[in-house]
C-alpha cells in the first residue's frame, strides 16, 4: 500500500479527531481504498512542508500529493471514479452549501462545546500553539469561551433542524446512499466524539440514529476509532 494520509492526532496518537481528516477517512473507505493514516500534530509543520501546506489532511497517493479536504475529494473522484462521492456536478455544487452550513453554523457551536476539553487531549508540544492561536481568534481564553457551554447546547441542537427535517424524508443526505455531504456533517460530530469523548446529540434525536449508522459503515470504521475519555488525557 502506497497511500498515506497525514491525520491529526492527540497526545494519544490513536485518537484522531480532525473534522477535515474524518471526511477523507470516510471518503477513502467509501471508495474501498486502503490508507495508512499516520499521526500528525499541529506543530509538526515541517513534516508536511513537502506538500506546501501547514494543515492536514494531506494525502500522498503514490507520486501525487493533495491538500485540502475538498481538493482531496475531487482528486479521489477523478482518480478513482468507482463508487462516486457525488453522482453529478450539481450534486457536488449543492453539497458545498451543506459544507458551508457545517463550517459556519456547526463548527463554531461545536468549538464552544469542546475546545476547553480538547486542549487537555493534545500532545503537550501542541498546547501552547493551539491555545495561543485559538485564543487570539476567539478573543478570550478557551475556558472562558466554553464556560457556559451547557446554556448553548440547546441552540446547537435546535440548529440541526435542517438536517433533522431532511433525514425525516430520506435515509442519507445523499438520498438512498451516503454522499460526501453525509461525511462532511458526520465528521463534525466525530470531532466531538473522538476528540473529547462526548456526543452532542440527544439520544432520541433522529440525527443520532443517522450518525450511528455512519459510525457503523465500513465495518465500523468510525465506531472503532479510539476516543478520548473526558478529563485528563490518557497515555
Amino acid at each position: 500500500m502506497n497511500r498515506v494520509l497525514y491525520d491529526l492526532a492527540g497526545r494519544d496518537e490513536a485518537v484522531r479527531f480532525s473534522p477535515y481528516c474524518w471526511r477523507i477517512r470516510m471518503a477513502l473507505a467509501h471508495k474501498g481504498l486502503d490508507v495508512q493514516a499516520v499521526p500528525w500534530r499541529f506543530t509538526e509543520k515541517d513534516r508536511i512542508a513537502f506538500a506546501g501546506s501547514e494543515r492536514v489532511p494531506v494525502l500522498v497517493d503514490g507520486e501525487v500529493v493533495v491538500t485540502d479536504s475538498m481538493a482531496i475529494a475531487d482528486y479521489l473522484e477523478q482518480r478513482y471514479p468507482q463508487q462516486p462521492l457525488f453522482d453529478s456536478p450539481q450534486a457536488r455544487a449543492h453539497a458545498l452549501f451543506i459544507r458551508h452550513w457545517t463550517e459556519t453554523v456547526l463548527f463554531p457551536q461545536i468549538t464552544r462545546q469542546i475546545i476547553a476539553d480538547l486542549v487537555l487531549q493534545l500532545h503537550p508540544m501542541d498546547v501552547p500553539y493551539f491555545r495561543s492561536t485559538r485564543e487570539a481568534r476567539l478573543g478570550m481564553t478557551l475556558e472562558a469561551f466554553s464556560a457556559d457551554r451547557e446554556v448553548h447546547l440547546p441552540a446547537l441542537r435546535a440548529s440541526l433542524q435542517p438536517l433533522r427535517a431532511t433525514l425525516a424524508g430520506q435515509a442519507w443526505l445523499g438520498g438512498d446512499g451516503p454522499s460526501f455531504a453525509d461525511y462532511i456533517v458526520f465528521a463534525a460530530f466525530q470531532w466531538a466524539r473522538c476528540g473529547v469523548g462526548r456526543s452532542l446529540l440527544a439520544s432520541d434525536d433522529p440525527v443520532a440514529e443517522w450518525f450511528e449508522r455512519l459510525l457503523n459503515r465500513f465495518d465500523g470504521l468510525g465506531a472503532a476509532a479510539p476516543c478520548a475519555t473526558p478529563g485528563p488525557a490518557r497515555a
Copy 2:
C-alpha cells in the same frame, strides 16, 4: 395554453408573494413552459377543493392536477425532462437540505420581518383568517411578533452565511447554472420583496447580487412582478 397555476395574491391581484408559488413560477420558466398564474386568496378553499388541497401552489396541466411545490417540481421533471431542475437523484437529495434550511431557518426570520406589513396587503376577506391562524401559531399578535424586527435583522443577515460562502465559490447554488435549489431560496426573498416591497438583504451583500441575477432571469420574470408598496395596500 392549457396550464394553470393557482397563485397566492394580495388585495391587488397583481401582487403575488407566496414563497412556494414563486418556486414553481421559476421552475416553469426554467423549462420554458408557459403558465397562466391565476390569482387565488387564502380563503378561497372552495376554488381548489377539486385538487384535494387547501393551499397553493396547485398546478393544473391539461388533465393533470398536482399540489405541493416539491411534488410539482418532481412532476415537471418527469413530464418535461428538458432543462432539468436537478441533474441527478443526489442533486435533488442535497437540494432538500437547502429546502429545509430555507423553511426552518429563513422562513421564521422573514416572517418576523414582514408579517405585520403583509397583513396590510391582503384582500380584506383574507385578513381575519390570516390573522387568527398566524396569531394562534405565533402565540401573539402579528404586531407583537414583528415589533422588534429591526433588532433581529442583523441575525437574519448573519444566518445567510452558508449561502454567502457557497456563492463566493460558484455563481449559483446549482453550480454553473441555477437549479431548483436556487429558486427555493430566491422565492423566500421574493416573498418579502413582492409581499411588502422590501429587500431584506444589505445592498453590498453578495447574496443581493445573486438575487438580482435571479430577478433578471427569464426576461425579468421576477423583476417585473408587481410588488406591494410599503404601507396601506394599493388598489
